[in-house]
């Protein structure tokens, strides 16, 4: 049960911004979200979208534990 957070336009695409989702790997989580909502899947793979696990930016796949906070971050616009 990772905690998944969507920021910026991603939460507009998905219609939610904060959900608990059960998934052992980041890759599996992406697949699950894409299967459920193709538009969101495409947006998550869009140019410049980064992933943070427990507030640290990661690249590639990673194992998730039940308490992991997974944040999908579109390009940051500055304030």
């Amino acid at each position: 049960m990772a905690r998944v957070l969507l920021f910026g336009r991603l939460s507009d695409v998905a219609g939610w911004r904060d959900r608990q989702i059960d998934s052992p790997f980041l890759s599996a989580l992406r697949a699950k979200l894409t299967a459920e909502d193709a538009a969101l899947g495409e947006a998550l793979g869009g140019k410049g979208v980064q992933v943070a696990l427990d507030q640290v930016i990661v690249r590639g796949d990673a194992a998730l534990n039940p308490a992991t906070e997974v944040a999908f971050l579109p390009p940051m616009s500055g304030g």
């Binding site: 957070l5 910026g8 943070a52 940051m76 616009s77 500055g78």
Partner: protein, 152 residues
């Protein structure tokens, strides 16, 4: 050194009053206040989203780098998040240094970073609805000024 986010509007002057107290050895305090522009009615409100914890930590890293690079005595960053009406302050940066050049440059540098790369997501609410704003080329050009200075 203080980096904070707030959902509430604030008074830049009150922050400067507090920041400039007891600085008998500092000499120089520079500030910048960014104010939400009305754009003659084109913008009804600005909305800024942050990732609480992450956003402060990322800004804090850059702020700490600026503190060392420019030899600052102190700095303060307060950034609005949530919906911001035209005329309300969006961001306040104050820098304290012994010499004015360092205070100005650090303030300028921090603003370039905050406006272009800080972890915010920005939405403009206008008469025709809302849209997310992507980083502007000018912002990246502004930030590049500081990179060039480091390498030459």
């Amino acid at each position: 050194m203080s980096v904070r986010l707030t959902f509430e509007t604030f008074d830049p002057g009150a922050l400067l009053t507090a920041f400039s107290q007891g600085r008998a050895e500092t000499g120089a305090v520079a500030t910048f206040t960014g104010i939400a522009r009305a754009e003659a009615g084109a913008t009804i409100a600005l909305e800024l989203e942050a990732y609480p914890g992450f956003t402060e930590a990322q800004i804090g890293k850059t702020a700490d780098g600026a503190r060392v690079r420019f030899g600052l005595d102190d700095l303060l960053i307060l950034h609005r998040i949530g919906k911001i009406a035209p005329g309300e302050p969006v961001v306040f940066v104050a820098t304290a240094a012994r010499h004015r050049r360092h205070a100005f440059e650090a303030c300028d540098f921090l603003m370039d970073y905050l406006k272009s790369r800080a972890p915010f997501w920005k939405k403009e609410h206008g008469p025709d609805g809302a849209r997310w704003i992507e980083p502007r080329d000018q912002d990246h050009a502004d930030l590049k000024r500081w990179e060039e200075e480091t390498t030459t």
